[in-house]
C-alpha cells in the first residue's frame, strides 16, 4: 500500500507542481494569476486523447500538436484576457477576464468533447507494472520543465530578459526590452507547460473537462504554499500535497482528504499569505 500511495502521490503531486509552475510563468510576466492554468492541464489530456486515440495519429505527432495548441491557447489568453485589462487601474478585472475565458473553454469542451471522462491512450507499448508510465511520466515532465526553466533563466539572453521583466517591469522597458513580446512569449511557454502537465498525467486523470476546476484549485495550492513565482517552492509543495492527499485517500477516505487539504490551504494562507517560503512585501501607503 505504501508503494501505491507513493507512486500515485508523487505522480499527481508532479501534475499539481506543473500547474503551479504554469501559474508562476504567467505571473512572472504580467503579475496576473490566470484561471486558465487548470484549463491548460485539462486540455492536455483532452487534446492528447483527441489526436492520438480518436484521430489515430502517431504519439509523437499528437504530442507535438498538443504542445502547439497549448502555446496557441497561451497566446490567446494573453491577447484576449490579459492585455486589455493590464492597463486598467482596477486590479480585480484580470481575475474576471481570465475566469470568463477559462469557463468558455471549459463549457466548449464539455459540449463538443464529452461530459464523461474519456480514456487516454497508453503512450508506450510496455506492459503495465509496479511503477508504471502512468506515474513516472508526470515526474519526467516535471523534471524536464524545472531543469529546462532553470537553464533558460540562467544561461540564455531571453531567459534573463524574462527575469528582468518579472523583477521590474518599468525598468526593463526603460532598458528597451520588448516587454509585450516577452509577455506573449511567456504565455506561450506557460501554455506548453500546462498542456504538458495534462498530457503526461493523462492516464491518471483521463480526458475529462471537469479536471479544469480541480486543477485550477489544486494547482494553485503549491503556488500559495511555495510562494508566488517560486518554482522550486511549487515543486516541493506540489509533491507534499500529492503525497498527503493520496495518503489521506488510502487511509481515511476521500472526503477527509479534500477537507484537510482545503483547511490546510486556508490556514497557511491566513498565517502566511506570502507562502511558506516567500517574503512579505512592504506595504506602500
Amino acid at each position: 500500500m505504501v508503494e501505491s500511495i507513493v507512486s500515485y502521490g508523487v505522480g499527481i503531486g508532479c501534475i499539481y507542481a506543473l500547474i503551479g509552475i504554469t501559474y508562476n510563468v504567467m505571473f512572472s510576466a504580467s503579475r496576473v494569476f490566470s484561471f486558465t492554468a487548470g484549463i491548460l492541464g485539462m486540455l492536455g489530456g483532452v487534446l492528447g486523447s483527441l489526436f492520438i486515440a480518436r484521430l489515430g495519429m502517431p504519439v509523437v505527432v499528437g504530442f507535438a500538436l498538443t504542445l502547439a495548441a497549448g502555446a496557441l491557447f497561451g497566446v490567446l489568453t494573453e491577447i484576449v484576457a490579459v492585455r486589455p485589462v493590464l492597463k486598467s487601474l482596477e486590479q480585480h478585472l484580470y481575475v474576471l477576464s481570465t475566469l470568463a475565458l477559462a469557463l468558455m473553454i471549459q463549457q466548449f469542451t464539455a459540449i463538443e468533447w464529452s461530459t464523461e471522462p474519456q480514456p487516454f491512450p497508453r503512450l508506450f507499448a510496455i506492459a503495465r507494472g509496479g511503477f508504471d508510465q502512468e506515474f513516472w511520466m508526470p515526474m519526467l515532465a516535471c523534471v524536464v520543465v524545472v531543469v529546462g526553466l532553470e537553464l533558460l533563466y540562467r544561461y540564455t539572453l531571453v531567459g534573463r530578459a524574462f527575469l528582468a521583466i518579472s523583477e521590474d517591469n518599468y525598468a526593463a522597458r526603460a532598458l528597451g526590452l520588448p516587454e509585450r513580446a516577452l509577455r506573449t512569449a511567456s504565455y506561450a511557454l506557460a501554455g506548453m507547460i500546462g498542456v504538458l502537465a495534462g498530457f503526461a498525467g493523462g492516464e491518471m486523470l483521463l480526458a475529462f473537462f471537469a479536471n479544469a476546476p480541480m486543477l485550477t484549485f489544486y494547482g494553485f495550492v503549491p503556488v500559495a504554499l511555495g510562494g508566488m513565482g517560486n518554482n522550486r517552492g511549487a515543486v516541493v509543495a506540489g509533491l507534499l500535497l500529492g503525497l498527503f492527499q493520496q495518503a489521506a485517500n488510502f487511509l481515511v477516505g476521500g472526503i477527509f482528504a479534500s477537507v484537510a487539504v482545503f483547511t490546510m490551504f486556508i490556514i497557511v494562507l491566513l498565517a502566511r499569505p506570502e507562502g511558506l517560503a516567500g517574503m512579505a512585501a512592504e506595504r506602500r501607503v
Binding site: A100, F265, L269, L270, E282
Partner: protein, 602 residues
C-alpha cells in the same frame, strides 16, 4: 462668500432634490413589485415556475451582492452555500439523522448554518485579496459537492434526498411563488437599506479605497464578518427554497454554472447597485427560456457575457441607467471655500494636548527613512513639514496614522503612546488625514464619499440599518446634514450628487479635505494638499487650513509649495535625509543658511 442662510437654502433644496430622486430610485422597484404581485393574473404556470426560480436566486444574489458588488470581494463559489442550505433543510425536514423538523424550523436552522459557513468561507478575505479569495471560494464549492456525494448516510450520496414540502397555503405552486416572492421583496428592501447606510458606504470604501477606509476608522474585519454572516444566512435560506422548488435534490443539481449565474448577475447589474443586480438576476434566469436551443450553451454564454462586461462595460446595467451622471459638468467652476462655516462643523476646541513624536526612527530594509525625529504639533497651530523628496515627510505622516511601526521612538497623543499598526483607531482619536494621491471611490457620488468620513459617528447597528429602524434613520439624517455642511465649507456643495471620477483633480483634493473634516478632527494631517492646484486655489486652500487650525485643530502640513508654507504656518520643521535640518518660525527658517542652501535655493 456665502452666508448661513444661503447654505440653509441650498441644503433644503438638496433635501427636496434628494427626496425627488429617492422616489425616482424607488420607482423601478415598485414596478417590479406590482408585476410580481399580479403575475398569476397574466402568466401561466410554467412562467410562474421560472419566476419562482428567479425569486429564489435573488434571495441569494441579494446577499451576495453586498459581498461582491459592495465589498468588492470576488466570491465565485457561492453555490456552495446554496448546496449547504438545500441539504441542511432537506435532511432536517426528512429526518434522516434526527427526528424530522417542521420545514420552517429547518429553514431557520439552515440560515444559522449558512451564516456560520458564510463566515468560514469569508475569513480568508480578511487577509487575502482578489485571486486568492476567488480560488478559496472555488475550492470550497468543489469540496462541498464532494462531501455531498460521499457522505451517503446523510445526503443520500448520488441518489439524493427529497426536498421539504411547505404546509398550506404555500404547498401549491402559486402559493410557493408568493412565499418566495415575499422573501425576495424583503431581501431587496433590507439590502437597499444597507446600501444606503453608513455600512454600505463603508463597504464600497473597502472595495475602492481601502487605505482611506482605515483612516476613516472603518474596521474591515468586523464589517466583512457581519456581511458574510448575513450573506451566508440568506444564501442558505435560498438553498432551502431551492430544495422545495426542485422537490428532489442530488449533488448534480448544484453545478458551478449556478455559481456563475449568481456572480455574473451582479457584475452585469453593476457594482454598488441593488437594482442592477436584481435586473441581472431576472435577465439571466429568463434568458435561456427565450432561446431554447441555447440551454445547453447557457453557461458558455454567461462566460462570454462576463468577458464582454469586463472588457466593454465595466459599470454594468446600473451605469447605463445612471442618466444623471451623463449630463456635462459646468466647466471652470471655481471652488470657493467658506471657512466661516467651520464653527458649525467642528467642535469648539476641547483638546489641550499635543501630538508629539519622540526620537522616532523608521527604516525600510537598510534605508533609514527617518532617523531620530522629534516633533510636536500643537492644537490651534499649523505645523509645516518641508524637505526635499525622500526626506521622510510622508513617512512621518504614516507613523502618526499608524501604517508604519517605528523602529525606535514613539508617537504620543496628549502624552499617551499611539499603538502602531492600528490604522483604524486613529479616527477614534480624531486624527484625520488626506493622501498625496487622493484616495476616493470614483464610482460613488461626492456626497457618498464625504459621508464616509463620518462613519464612526453613527450609533445604529448593522441590524438596525438592515431593518431601517429609527436610530439608523437618525444617523443618516445627521451624516447627510454634516456632509452637506462640510461640502459647503470646502466649496463643493453643488457637486454633491456628481460621480467623483468625473471631477477634475483639484476638486478631489477638496473632497478629501471635506471627508477629513467630517471626523471633526483634533488633528488634521495634510499630505501635499496643494499639489496640482492653481495659485488662486492654493490661496483659498491656505485660508481654509488656517481657519481649521484657529477652530482648535492642530494641522500638520506636508508641502512643497514654499509660499504656502511660509504664508500660513506657525511653526516649520525642515527635514533632510530623515533628520531635522532646522525648526522654528517662518522668519527663522527663511533666514536659516543651511535651509536656504539645501532646499530653498539662492
Amino acid at each position: 462668500m456665502m452666508d448661513m442662510s444661503t447654505v440653509r437654502l441650498q441644503s433644503t433644496r438638496a433635501a427636496v432634490f434628494g427626496s425627488a430622486s429617492a422616489i425616482g430610485a424607488a420607482l423601478p422597484f415598485l414596478l417590479l413589485l406590482i408585476i410580481g404581485a399580479t403575475l398569476p393574473l397574466f402568466a401561466g404556470g410554467y412562467w410562474g415556475l421560472i419566476a419562482t426560480r428567479a425569486c429564489v436566486y435573488w434571495v441569494l444574489v441579494a446577499g451576495l451582492n453586498l459581498v461582491v458588488g459592495f465589498a468588492g470581494q470576488i466570491a465565485i463559489g457561492w453555490v456552495a452555500l446554496l448546496t449547504l442550505g438545500a441539504y441542511t433543510t432537506s435532511v432536517l425536514a426528512a429526518g434522516n439523522v434526527m427526528p424530522p423538523f417542521p420545514p420552517y424550523v429547518a429553514l431557520v436552522i439552515a440560515a444559522v448554518v449558512g451564516a456560520v459557513f458564510g463566515v468560514i468561507i469569508g475569513l480568508p478575505a480578511l487577509r487575502l485579496r482578489t485571486f486568492y479569495f476567488a480560488i478559496t471560494t472555488l475550492g470550497f464549492a468543489t469540496i462541498v459537492t464532494q462531501v455531498a456525494l460521499a457522505w451517503q448516510s446523510v445526503t443520500g450520496g448520488g441518489v439524493g434526498v427529497p426536498g421539504p414540502i411547505l404546509p398550506e397555503p404555500f404547498s401549491s405552486p402559486w402559493g410557493f411563488y408568493y412565499f418566495c416572492f415575499a422573501l425576495a421583496a424583503i431581501c431587496t428592501w433590507m439590502t437597499a437599506n444597507v446600501a444606503a447606510s453608513r455600512f454600505g458606504r463603508a463597504l464600497t470604501a473597502i472595495r475602492d479605497a481601502e487605505v482611506a477606509a482605515e483612516a476613516c476608522g472603518i474596521a474591515k474585519p468586523a464589517l466583512l464578518v457581519t456581511v458574510f454572516l448575513f450573506s451566508g444566512a440568506v444564501a442558505a435560506v435560498a438553498g432551502g427554497l431551492f430544495a422545495v422548488l426542485q422537490s428532489y435534490i442530488t449533488p448534480d443539481a448544484f453545478t458551478f454554472d449556478l455559481s456563475l449565474l449568481f456572480f455574473i448577475a451582479i457584475l452585469i447589474g453593476g457594482r454598488g447597485s441593488v437594482l442592477g443586480p436584481l435586473l441581472g438576476t431576472i435577465l439571466l434566469t429568463f434568458l435561456p427560456e427565450f432561446a431554447a436551443p441555447l440551454v445547453a450553451w447557457s453557461a458558455f454564454l454567461y462566460a462570454v457575457l462576463l468577458l464582454v462586461i469586463v472588457l466593454v462595460v465595466p459599470g454594468g446595467i446600473a451605469e447605463m441607467l445612471d442618466f444623471r451622471n451623463r449630463r456635462p459638468l459646468e466647466s471652470n467652476r471655481a471652488i470657493i471655500p467658506s471657512p466661516d462655516l467651520l464653527p458649525r462643523l467642528l467642535d469648539a476646541n476641547a483638546n489641550a494636548g499635543a501630538l508629539t513624536l519622540e526620537q522616532v526612527a523608521v527604516s525600510f530594509g537598510g534605508v533609514r527613512a527617518i532617523d531620530g525625529l522629534d516633533l510636536a504639533i500643537q492644537p490651534q497651530q499649523v505645523h509645516g513639514l518641508i524637505g526635499p523628496n525622500g526626506s521622510g515627510k510622508t513617512t512621518v505622516l504614516n507613523v502618526i496614522s499608524g501604517y508604519y511601526a517605528p523602529l525606535a521612538g514613539v508617537a504620543k497623543l496628549n502624552g499617551v503612546a499611539l499603538p502602531a499598526h492600528a490604522q483604524h483607531n486613529r479616527a477614534q482619536l480624531r486624527i484625520a488625514r488626506t493622501f498625496q494621491t487622493p484616495r476616493l471611490i470614483g464610482a460613488a457620488s461626492v456626497l457618498h464619499n464625504v459621508m464616509i468620513g463620518g462613519t464612526i459617528d453613527g450609533c445604529g447597528s448593522f441590524v438596525e440599518s438592515l431593518l431601517s429602524l429609527p436610530r439608523h434613520r437618525r444617523d443618516e439624517a445627521v451624516l447627510h446634514e454634516q456632509a452637506m455642511l462640510a461640502l459647503a465649507t470646502v466649496g463643493l456643495e453643488q457637486l454633491a450628487p456628481v460621480r467623483v471620477d468625473r471631477l477634475p483633480h483639484s476638486a478631489l483634493r477638496f473632497v478629501e479635505i471635506a471627508r477629513a473634516l467630517m471626523l471633526r478632527p483634533a488633528f488634521l494631517l495634510l499630505d501635499e494638499p496643494a499639489a496640482g492646484l492653481s495659485a488662486e486655489e492654493i490661496r483659498r486652500l491656505g485660508a481654509l487650513i488656517v481657519a481649521v487650525a484657529r477652530q482648535g485643530a492642530g494641522v500638520l502640513l506636508v508641502e512643497h509649495h514654499a509660499d504656502l508654507i511660509f504664508d500660513i504656518c506657525d511653526h516649520i520643521t525642515v527635514l533632510n535625509l530623515g533628520r531635522i535640518l532646522a525648526a522654528g518660525t517662518p522668519t527663522e527658517i527663511r533666514s536659516h543658511r543651511e535651509v536656504v542652501n539645501a532646499y530653498l535655493g539662492g
